[in-house]
């Protein structure tokens, strides 16, 4: 299968992206975000997970979590490029919500075949979910999961579970005597304890989730196969979030460089500021082009989806780091304060940078595909 030249980014996808952008612009300012997540800088307070559930409810009513659900499970089955456009806008707003987590679960369930359909229907009806498969050392390889299943009961702990306190369901990868399977379970089921992590990123929450004899429903026998199929979408959507957030960082920092005056000139006049801002833009654009290429591959060229998604996430991770670094540096003293908005995006981007594999991790896997594995 070949990719269409226009990425298959249809009129409908364009309208969806524009309406998402307007939605956040009208309903969720950065000022509101700051008030919501950063009202108290005290680091000794218990971890919180503030988010605007009413606004999320509106998004559910707009059908956002339905978009990636296949039509066979009563979803809209939109192409990945259209979903990426939406995620880019949610990233631009740094909107705290379980959108990415639910999309991740959706793509994995869709790769499970018929056995994933019942869970997908729950998502289509508004349930939110997240993946629970990372071990204590932060391995992004699901076969390293610490959760075990015996007698249809889950035991062990899943680490680095994203937005765990916002979601209704967990999609757990657990090791059996032979192989790994996927389990679908309510996040408040008996035997589950969600331990909130204290994390740098104020716009997300994260937890390690303990399972003690938890009864759970198996939704996929060959869990690793489903995950392998879904990972390109997981990496690509996170990369889409990153480029949206990076564009906010670029625009905000550029605006500051246009207005902040030193030595009788706006600081953006000076090439020590101007040129690195251009380099931030260049990195964003490279990552963005790779994101839509990867999303299009998921839709039209699945045999190369992993290759292109590795490129997209590697590029996006570098972009997240560089755009964040320059955003704080060029805001000067004010950029180093709690009060300044750039810290919110800086922290979100540092989280995104490493989540589901940092740049070097993805380049190593890309090399295995392109150059062959090292013997």
């Amino acid at each position: 299968m070949a990719q269409p030249d226009d990425y298959g980014f249809s009129e409908e996808a364009s309208l969806l992206k524009d309406s998402a952008r307007k939605f956040f612009k009208n309903n969720f300012s950065t000022d509101k975000l700051h008030q919501m997540v950063a009202d108290n800088p005290d680091s000794s307070k218990p971890p919180e997970s503030p988010w605007d559930k009413e606004l999320w409810q509106q998004l559910l009513e707009l059908g956002w979590t339905l978009l990636a659900v296949p039509e066979s499970a009563q979803g809209l089955g939109l192409p990945a490029v259209a979903v990426a456009g939406l995620v880019e806008e949610a990233g631009r707003a740094a909107f705290p919500c379980p959108l990415l987590a639910t999309l991740n679960a959706t793509y994995v369930l869709a790769a499970c075949g018929d056995s994933g359909n019942a869970a997908l229907k729950e998502i289509a009806e508004g349930a939110t979910a997240t993946l629970a498969l990372t071990n204590r050392t932060g391995s992004w390889l699901p076969q390293d999961t610490e959760v075990r299943v015996t007698d249809r009961k889950l035991n062990g702990t899943a680490w680095f579970v994203q937005d765990a306190r916002k979601v209704d369901r967990l999609l757990v990868c657990a090791k059996k005597d032979t192989g790994h399977s996927l389990y679908w379970v309510a996040s408040d089921a008996s035997g589950i304890t969600v331990h909130a992590d204290r994390i740098v990123d104020l716009t997300r929450d994260q937890a390690h989730v303990e399972f003690l004899n938890v009864e759970a429903e198996e939704v996929c026998e060959d869990g690793l196969k489903a995950l392998e199929q879904a990972f390109p979408a997981i990496w690509t959507m996170l990369a889409a979030d990153v480029i949206g957030a990076a564009e906010w960082q670029l625009q905000t920092t550029t605006e500051y460089a246009r207005t902040r005056t030193q030595f009788e000139r706006p600081i953006g006049f000076f090439q020590a500021v101007k040129h690195p801002l251009v380099d931030v833009m260049i990195q964003i654009d490279e990552a963005k082009s790779l994101v839509y290429n990867a999303a299009c591959a998921i839709d039209h060229e699945p045999q190369r989806a992993a290759e292109y998604a590795h490129m997209a996430k590697a590029s996006a991770s570098e972009t997240a780091a560089f755009a964040s670094s320059r955003s704080v540096q060029f805001h000067g003293g004010i950029g180093y304060t709690w009060e300044c908005f750039v810290q919110l995006y800086f922290k979100r981007q540092k989280h995104s940078q490493l989540l589901w594999g940092d740049a070097a991790w993805h380049r190593a896997r890309l090399a295995d595909i392109v150059l062959g594995e090292i013997g």
Partner: protein, 411 residues
């Protein structure tokens, strides 16, 4: 990778088929002699003749100037040059020799030339009969282009030109030059006017062309001296004092950011031609020993090679995304990055190849033990031509910062 054919309009699809049919039987065989990396390094008449023959036949078949009006020797089509370029590349044709004419002079002539001038000059430009060169830079005017001093003194209906242009690629073969001249010494940008002037027919009659040797040892660019060259006012493009605006059109096209797609062929894998791309880099890494094993198995080199592959793919994808306004934050944002990225990515790839080659990277053209016949050091050095010419990378970053990000101008 995209299959561009799948999104063709009816006109494009028919035209693509025409290109394919013609190229199947008319793609020239590789020459027995070496061709340089690009048309800018053409040194011998033998090279020039081979390449001019190719351009003439491609023009006769309708693959050059497809989007220009028929009245000026064009094909009268719309959005078809890109199709011809893709098909010529796919067929692995040689490149065209008249690249300055096609890429810079033609779109400027189309926009600003007088009717008779366009009818006379454009067909000969498309066919390659007239080779063109560009007279912008001077010894004292590089990045600050608007400071050029070569002066045109009014003399009735004519102008008398005196001055010195440099880095003038192809001038030694050129019939015509597009030239930025000062017609008023009292103002900077507003004192510039834009002309086309004869070169080959005026040699020793007001024009002299002297070759300059590049750091690679190649020739191909020159300095051009004007001593009392007299030209008619009819050779002026655009109004008097509007030379800077006209030059902007030329520069946008030179940097692949103009409205018209430049006719461009290529893809021929000449034994001695070597592009600084990751496919060639990976080839080198597979065939080079590094710390006792194939370089391609070294984890650090793998990481760095993948960085290059990722950026190179991103550059291709930028081209694709340029055609999709819904995914652009600013209309000119990607196009204005094109030249900068293309040149810098190639430079990094070539630099990495020299590291992969290790001690063998010391061996240059003509050494029988050199990897890839010594082409990598040449390719690496050649990339500086591209990060410097047509506006240095530093100037490109100024342009991007000022035009796209609206940061304060450097003047």
């Amino acid at each position: 990778m995209s299959d561009s054919a799948s999104k063709d309009t009816l006109e494009q699809a028919e035209f693509r088929q025409h290109c394919r049919d013609w190229l199947r039987n008319n793609t020239p065989a590789e020459p027995s002699f070496r061709l340089p990396i690009s048309a800018l390094e053409i040194m011998t008449e033998e090279q020039l003749t081979y390449l001019k023959d190719w351009q003439q036949s491609a023009y006769d078949a309708g693959l050059v100037g497809c989007d220009y009006p028929v009245a000026y020797g064009g094909g009268g089509r719309s959005n078809c040059q890109r199709i011809a370029n893709e098909e010529m590349h796919r067929a692995k044709t040689p490149y065209m020799p008249n690249i300055i004419g096609l890429g810079m002079a033609a779109p400027t002539l189309l926009q600003y030339g007088q009717e008779e001038m366009k009818k006379h000059l454009l067909p000969r430009l498309f066919s390659g009969e007239d080779i063109w060169c560009q007279g912008f830079s001077e010894p004292g005017s590089g990045s600050d282009l608007a400071s050029v001093q070569t002066f045109a003194q009014r003399d009735g209906d004519a102008w008398v030109i005196n001055g010195h242009k440099v880095w003038t690629s192809l001038a030694h073969f050129a019939a015509w030059m597009i030239i930025l001249l000062r017609t008023d010494k009292t103002q900077k940008h507003g004192g510039l006017s834009y002309f086309v002037v004869p070169i080959s027919s005026a040699l020793d009659q007001g024009v002299s062309v002297k070759p300059l040797i590049k750091m690679t040892g190649e020739t191909g660019f020159n300095e051009v001296l004007f001593e009392d060259l007299q030209v008619d006012d009819g050779l002026r493009l655009g109004a008097l004092g509007h030379g800077w605006q006209v030059a902007t059109t030329t520069l946008l096209h030179e940097r692949d950011a103009g409205e018209l797609v430049t006719p461009r062929s290529g893809g021929m894998k000449n034994a001695a031609t070597h592009n600084a791309n990751t496919a060639n880099l990976i080839d080198l890494a597979r065939n080079t020993q590094y710390n006792g094993k194939a370089a391609v198995e070294d984890p650090l080199l793998r990481d760095r090679i993948m960085r290059q592959l990722i950026r190179e793919t991103a550059l291709e994808e930028n081209q694709r995304r340029t055609r999709l306004p819904a995914l652009l934050e600013h209309p000119a944002r990607l196009q204005l990055q094109n030249k900068l990225l293309r040149s810098e990515i190639a430079q990094q790839t070539a630099a990495l190849a020299l590291e992969v080659a290790g001690a063998s990277a010391s061996l240059y053209l003509g050494d029988q033990n050199a990897p890839a016949a010594g082409q990598w050091p040449l390719a690496y050095m050649s990339t500086y031509g591209n990060t410097i010419a047509a506006g240095t990378s530093e100037v490109q970053r100024n342009i991007l910062g000022e035009r796209v990000l609206s940061l304060a101008k450097s003047k």
